[in-house]
């Protein structure tokens, strides 16, 4: 694998597309709950009593009603939130659990004639079947999920070590999650780098209506792709810009639970650009 591949950027390579950062923001309703008015800056820990008024309030996300029904307690370390009469805890730490429809950044770790095995930073590796790698708009008859036909240009072929933007097709308690790379903006990435952050902090990197990610992108002149499984793909105009972008993301991760973060991040990036002599 050499860096010659960089020069082979093809026309329908998805990473040129301006809208891609918005990909995961549409349907997801619990995005950037950090910025919600209903989220307090009240930090709670596992076992902490959120309320003893169990007549008025109901246990929401990250909480539990005790067996004697006398209190609602937090199950996580996070921020207390009251929405209508639900008490939720927005976790500050946690691992990624795949849900259908999630966009993820996957690393191919193994392959055989009938499937690819991918690491998606979840408790199980995910499976990607060749029939779910076909390039959009070209469905070939006769493919019934058998081994990929090397002469068939419809199926994208991947190797161990490839980074893919994929979508979760199915995920349940008992089976390995299944992925697809068929869809807008999905497929293999040929350049850039991927970093990992705490999955609960991902909404903060996107921001309300994508405000944070727009700022990051514009101020550091980079392309960024943020996915649900805590991974971020990015590419800047040079290594110095990429370093700045990553430092900014780490700062967001660290200060996710504070107020006024968006403004502070703009200030931070402007200052750092001056300090580092970047434009």
């Amino acid at each position: 694998m050499s860096f010659k591949d960089e020069e082979q950027v093809s026309k329908d390579d998805n990473h040129e597309d301006e809208e891609e950062e918005a990909v995961i923001s549409e349907e997801d309703s619990d995005l950037d709950e950090f910025e919600d008015e209903e989220t307090t800056r009240n930090l709670v820990v596992p076992g902490e009593i959120l309320t003893t008024d169990t007549k008025t309030y109901l246990p929401g996300r990250g909480t539990l009603l005790t067996p004697d029904r006398s209190k609602i307690i937090s199950l996580n370390i996070g921020l207390k939130q009251t929405k209508k009469n639900y008490i939720n805890v927005i976790p500050l730490r946690g691992f990624y659990t795949p849900r259908p429809g999630d966009k993820v950044i996957a690393l191919v770790t193994d392959k055989n004639p009938v499937k690819y095995r991918c690491d998606i930073n979840a408790k199980d590796d995910a499976v990607l079947k060749p029939k779910n790698t076909m390039k959009r708009g070209r469905i070939s008859r006769g493919m019934r999920g058998g081994p990929p036909d090397r002469n068939n240009s419809n199926a994208e072929m991947y190797d161990v070590g490839d980074i893919l933007i994929a979508k979760v097709l199915s995920a349940d308690r008992l089976n390995s999650p299944e992925l697809t790379t068929v869809g807008k903006y999905l497929g293999k990435k040929n350049n850039g780098i991927v970093i990992s952050i705490d999955p609960p902090k991902i909404p903060r990197v996107i921001g309300r209506d994508g405000s944070m990610i727009k700022n990051l992108k514009n101020l550091t002149k980079s392309t960024i792709f943020v996915t649900q499984n805590g991974r971020i793909w990015l590419k800047g105009e040079d290594i110095a810009h990429e370093r700045l972008l990553i430092d900014a993301i780490r700062k967001i991760e660290r200060e996710a639970h504070t107020v006024g973060l968006t403004d502070r991040m703009i200030e931070f990036i402007e200052n750092e650009k001056k300090k580092r002599g970047l434009k």
């Binding site: 930090l43 199980d124 008992l174 639970h257």
Partner: protein, 253 residues
């Protein structure tokens, strides 16, 4: 051959002024410091200094079970590995885990398991690694206490924390938080842990001689000490985040 300095126990465990050998009152805890998020690579981690005890706990999970045959199809499993370094004790310990370490691992597992929702993660494992870098009495209690913090730091849903302490009897007096010498030379040692979810004991062991009248006294002393230590755990979990909140609102970027 014996070491140059022998490991000998003092005759008396109280000083002339009525205090314990390290200057403590009977119900006084040793100095305790806790911190979370100390091992970069782990999913969750915590560090504890308790008197001379220095203990790290780190959590990995949920992740694949190795060896495979231990995996359960309908539930996750919890595995706790309590280990001591060779240099954590007076006489160098052999590197390989011994029976005591395996016993303590089991006892701590029983303590932590009821707090988790393992049935939500079938086929996976949560692994808690406890490394005692420096030991000075009450390591199983200190280990349980720091392990609970590491699990919380990993973002694993838990019904509550668990806190542990050892109370005991030395020179016929009931005391709280036995040091290494007091543990070795004393008359009774009762390590216990409380699960705050239902405020009941989830770890209980006892060695020594105790009158039936002293049993209630022991448990009362324990309860009070446990509450004190619990406060410290809560602070440790929150303080990192609170410090950052204060830092940014103070006008520093």
């Amino acid at each position: 051959m014996p070491l140059v300095i022998k490991d000998e126990y003092p005759e008396k465990l109280f000083r002339e002024d009525g205090k314990r050998l390290d200057g403590r009152e009977k119900t006084e805890l040793r100095p305790i410091k806790m911190e979370v998020g100390v091992i970069e690579n782990a999913d969750g981690s915590a560090y504890l200094e308790w008197g001379n005890n220095k203990i790290y706990a780190a959590v990995y999970g949920p992740r694949e079970v190795h060896p495979h045959h231990l995996a359960k199809p309908d539930s996750g499993i919890l595995r706790v590995f309590y280990r001591m370094t060779t240099y954590s004790v007076f006489e160098r310990k052999r590197p390989a885990p011994g029976r005591r370490e395996k016993e303590i691992s089991m006892v701590i597992t029983d303590c932590l398991k009821p707090l988790l929702f393992l049935e939500l993660y079938p086929g996976t494992a949560f692994e808690v690694f406890i490394e005692v870098m420096d030991a000075d009495g009450g390591t199983r209690c200190a280990s349980t206490t720091v392990a609970a913090l590491a699990l919380a730091d990993a973002g694993i849903p838990m019904k509550s924390l668990v806190t542990a302490v050892a109370v005991g009897k030395i020179d016929d007096q009931l005391v709280v938080d036995l040091s290494g010498i007091e543990d070795k030379a004393g008359q009774a040692d009762l390590p216990c842990a409380i699960t705050w979810f239902n405020e009941e004991l989830s770890l209980l062991q006892f060695d020594g001689d105790m009158n039936i009248e002293q049993m209630d006294e022991f448990l009362k002393l324990a309860k009070s000490a446990l509450s004190e230590i619990y406060e410290l755990q809560l602070q440790a979990l929150k303080k990192k985040y609170i410090a950052i909140q204060e830092e940014v609102s103070g006008g520093n970027t």
